[in-house]
């Protein structure tokens, strides 16, 4: 196996559609959440993060030139667009108010980082299934 085909450890936020787990993803205290060989999809990301798993070992993608550093940074995996839309809605009637513009601006500048945990945020409505 050539060196560049060895599995790589990546942050969960950098999972790409179709990547394959090279080892079990184990949630504390020791339960296997996803088995080795699982083909990953975007839906797995919040599941993993919610269980406290920050990194997984995945097979290297088939595209030969794809080195670990070339995997896009987390910000780009979670396009900040939806976060900016939500911020616009949240501050819609508060723009121009003292201090609110500052908060809005600061949050927009951090949209990429906010997007990384935005899966934990849900609309106000709805009872959660037990």
């Amino acid at each position: 196996m050539p060196e560049d085909r060895e599995p790589i450890r990546i942050p969960v936020q950098r999972i790409e559609e179709g990547m394959v787990l090279a080892d079990d993803a184990v949630a504390p205290p020791g339960t296997v959440l996803l088995g080795r060989g699982t083909r990953l999809t975007a839906r797995h990301i919040p599941q993993l993060l919610d269980r406290g798993i920050a990194e997984v070992l995945v097979e290297r993608p088939d595209r030969p030139a794809e080195a670990a550093e070339e995997l896009a940074p987390a910000q780009e995996k979670f396009p900040p667009g939806p976060v900016q839309d939500r911020l616009d809605a949240l501050f819609e009637h508060k723009r121009g108010e003292r201090h609110m513009d500052t908060i809005y601006q600061l949050a927009r500048e951090r949209a990429g980082r906010i997007a990384q945990h935005a899966h934990r945020s849900r609309p106000a409505g709805g009872e959660r299934a037990p």
Partner: protein, 282 residues
């Protein structure tokens, strides 16, 4: 104010603390207790002590070696932090009931965000260790009145949510209209009942409008600001989509400016990734 008090008293059977949590709180308040006294109390409740140790050993605190006993946790983290973790474990496992229009898990996620942001802000603003600990727990419990309403007065809470949506009110306005008091009044009464320190009770009671908080507005102003910053960071959901306005007086009181706010947000965003152990208890 007296009206509010009378109406609050109309809610019978405010939630009480379980014996173990109440004893831990009493021991910490007494300031004469030893670490092993606390240990002797908490370990009577296995589930609770397990949860406290999970939080202690989580990446939130990031100790290089495992802390295996409550005694050791008290020695390393201090009495108040262990009391706060015990309270956190208790409220997360007790008040988990939401209702149509109010997602309890999203609410607690928001509350954890406010706790983390309040502690980050306290750090940035140079609060004492005690001030930072109080900021964390006051931030965590700031909205506890909302889940108490879901649990103890579900019909009224249902009516509150209905008014919120139909008349396009803020949650606070809808509570005042339907109940004659707010979740902040109720939260303050509950925490007072639990014999939590007055400093924490005051913050929870007045966080929507810190100008009413008495002599020292700073702790209250800090949670007020952190609550709004947490909404702006889209962490969890407080139970409404509408943003409250910041209190300019509160802002001035803690001398928040663009630069400090940016630093608080950066610190909070870092810390939130480490707060998963709290979310796991939900």
């Amino acid at each position: 104010m007296n009206d509010t008090r009378a109406r609050l008293e109309a809610i019978k059977d405010l939630p009480t603390l379980p014996d173990v949590v109440a004893k831990v709180n009493r021991l910490v308040n007494s300031e004469h207790a030893s670490a092993s006294d606390i240990n002797a109390v908490i370990r009577r409740d296995l589930a609770l002590s397990g949860k406290v140790l999970r939080l202690v050993n989580s990446s939130f605190y990031g100790f290089p070696r495992r802390i295996n006993s409550i005694t050791r946790a008290v020695v390393i983290l201090g009495f108040r932090t262990v009391r706060n973790l015990t309270l956190s474990a208790f409220v997360f496992s007790t008040f988990r009931k939401g209702m149509q229009g109010f997602d309890a898990r999203a609410f607690w996620t928001h509350s954890i965000g406010v706790a983390v942001t309040s502690a980050a802000a306290a750090e940035e603003l140079g609060f004492s260790t005690r001030g930072r600990e109080d900021a964390f727990i006051a931030g965590l419990l700031h909205g506890v009145g909302k889940v108490v309403l879901c649990e103890y007065a579900p019909e009224q809470m249902h009516e509150v949510l209905h008014r919120r949506d139909v008349e396009d009110m803020s949650l606070l306005e809808a509570e005042q209209a339907v109940l004659g008091y707010t979740h902040a009044d109720l939260g303050g009464a509950v925490l007072e009942n639990w014999n939590l320190p007055e400093a924490i009770v005051q913050v929870v009671r007045h966080y929507p409008d810190p100008t009413k908080a008495g002599q020292d507005l700073r702790p209250c102003a800090l949670v007020h600001a952190s609550e709004i910053l947490t909404r702006a960071m889209l962490f969890g959901n407080p139970g409404e989509e509408r943003m409250p306005l910041v209190s300019a007086r509160a802002w001035d009181e803690i001398e928040l400016n663009h630069k400090i706010l940016g630093r608080i947000m950066d610190r909070a965003l870092d810390e939130m990734h480490r707060a998963d152990a709290f979310l796991e208890l939900l």
